[in-house]
Symmetry: C2
Subunit: 435 residues, 2 copies
Amino acid sequence: MSTTIVRLDTHDLRFPTSRWLDGSDAMNPDPDYSAAHVVVHTDADDGYEGHGYVFTIGRGNDVQTAAIAALAPLVVGLPLADTLADMAALSRRLVHDSQFRWLGPEKGVMHMAIGAVVNALWDLKAKRAGKPLWRLLAELTPEQIVDLVDFRYLTDVLDRDQALDILRAAVPGRAERTARLLADGYPAYTTSPGWLGYDDAKLARLCREAMDSGFTHLKLKVGADLADDVRRLGLARSTCGRDVRIAVDANQRWDTGTAIRWIQALSEFDPAWVEEPTSPDDVLAHAAIARAVAPIRIATGEHLANRVVAKQLLQAKAVDILQIDATRVAGVNENVANLLLAARFGVPVCPHGGGVGLCELVQHLAMFDYVAVSGSLDGRVIEHVEHLHEHFVDPVVVRSGRYRAPTAPGFSSTLRPDSVRAHAFPYGPVWAADR
Amino acid sequence: MSTTIVRLDTHDLRFPTSRWLDGSDAMNPDPDYSAAHVVVHTDADDGYEGHGYVFTIGRGNDVQTAAIAALAPLVVGLPLADTLADMAALSRRLVHDSQFRWLGPEKGVMHMAIGAVVNALWDLKAKRAGKPLWRLLAELTPEQIVDLVDFRYLTDVLDRDQALDILRAAVPGRAERTARLLADGYPAYTTSPGWLGYDDAKLARLCREAMDSGFTHLKLKVGADLADDVRRLGLARSTCGRDVRIAVDANQRWDTGTAIRWIQALSEFDPAWVEEPTSPDDVLAHAAIARAVAPIRIATGEHLANRVVAKQLLQAKAVDILQIDATRVAGVNENVANLLLAARFGVPVCPHGGGVGLCELVQHLAMFDYVAVSGSLDGRVIEHVEHLHEHFVDPVVVRSGRYRAPTAPGFSSTLRPDSVRAHAFPYGPVWAADR
């Protein structure tokens, strides 16, 4: 009897982070971190579920959840083994559905919904294989990896053969890098001290605590008020000294001219990079800013709509660091494309973490990149934010400023059943007090 | 007693166009043209409703409708007169809501939902003013028009003062152009003959009928098979002669290299323009294609996510014609920005029509552009498709290949109540037979 996908369950989960101003920045004053959550059920008797989600910041999480549910007819009833054996076909089925595609194309709510379903199926595939996702991916052959990628719209800079060359060049060192990863972990940086809503005393205290925990790289939110930014960055610099790397993040706050002036005013603090200076859609503006403020480095990517925008940012030399996000694009498959594009241009990938379960997901992508794609840790760090990990069955483990390599099978995306029950919006017990 | 917005009603409306292959192209083989429809109700006793919608092509129209409904808490309860008096504030309230914004930002399902609500309120404002929307807009002062625009992310190429210069230069001829528009209408082109699913006999017959109706410009879908395209374009050219302009539309089918080769292979048929050669997000690819195939002209815009992408297409000389869409961006306000950007670069705007009610909407934007922004009809045509106009209270009127200027108050967006009832998905009578 063949096994099939029998059901997608979706949940609108919200965490009341606005009560403490966690996650506050220049564009997002009071987010309630949320997850549009999906669980893929099968009729196998192995007990495995595939978990995926889209991270949002509150209002609209119901719309995002509805978008995931709308994909059920494209997935329910598919034979499980064949589907998991050809994840590229599954990804194409969803991304190129001619009617759903109109709602993007390949961007926004519908595209993120596809990402949640694709990621949930990768979680399920890795659980059934008994491996953490990073390892499952890193043990594929170069041919199997390129088969995951949709090269449509990429071939002017990266085709299948060029991608194969990148992956084949990384094969010889795979075993050594895997061993090193398991022994030493992957470098992390922390954003926990730098939320815009925190006062100076809390900022300084959290900087000290970050250093005490072994972090040598942290990030501050900027962009709302220049005088405040100068004061806060000065405080962080004097607290941390010159050896700690301090990145800053403007969360899309500026136009091009303002970005250039503001970044120049912050240059005395030696920022490790300046993140999201302007609209994530504006390739040409990022390029103009990067040219004007060099050698200060420009980073973006957490709001990158898809691989086509990633390609252009790299083509135009608009970013020095590409910050992939696990739930913004169409899942693992599109992020494999993004990793290959970055490798093609020699640009390091430093994934976006935080939110709900983004650290849990991106650690797998960064570790796969290290073992099998870029083959390098040079200039590479995964964002770490100390939020909401307690809701996951296999939460990230960060020690002495490094992510430990996950060993549990899957994508580390499984939410705890009690957390799902408690945070259901608007009827879960966490929200009952507000009603 | 002050009047307020009391309710948004939404409807998932679908029209079974796939039964006849109307609307079929290289990316969309079997669309069911749909509208996620919103009606804004007030407690005024004037009987006016504001109608807006997002055009989609079937699956996912429920998600789009849910996104519109999710905006109700931001609009219901607002004082009507103040809201309609400051449409820029209303637009900002929706576009920059910090939580909803995460779902784009400014793209996809959530952004289109905002467009439907903004457009519905413009419809209401124009009805209450007793004027067709094009005229309401064209009678605003230059200062009032620039006040509608969100210049965020635009100031590297267009600021308020530069926009004012454009608008002030067009003031002197407004009265004359209004009179000419009312007398002669606005040039149209027709896509009705060229859908990819039609056979050669139907194509030739529809070409002849288009010419008999007075059209001197038509458009064919291409991009699925080069031999078919050569045969169909040859047939259209031999049917129409050399004096009729024939544009072609690839609906995003190609990568850069393929686009260049394919367009060169079609050049013997003297295409008026080549539309959507590749991904609508790919500014750099459009620029490369435009450079390679010049003097053949490149057009795109119906899937343009927002004004930031429009800006870049113009900056990079990636388009010779900008094809704004009425329901893809955040409504009238963002399209005023797009019209100003095009005028700044001297690029003609030829709006995207078709779908459900897109012709009804874009005619107002093009006519406003003629009277008050670009001041020109040179190289400008509005797409016309002979679909679904019967469902509108004030359908477009096209005679001898020209749109007649609408005279009824509003945005021509009011759907007939019987059409709304009949096409409700999935329980309306039109769909009952499929169940």
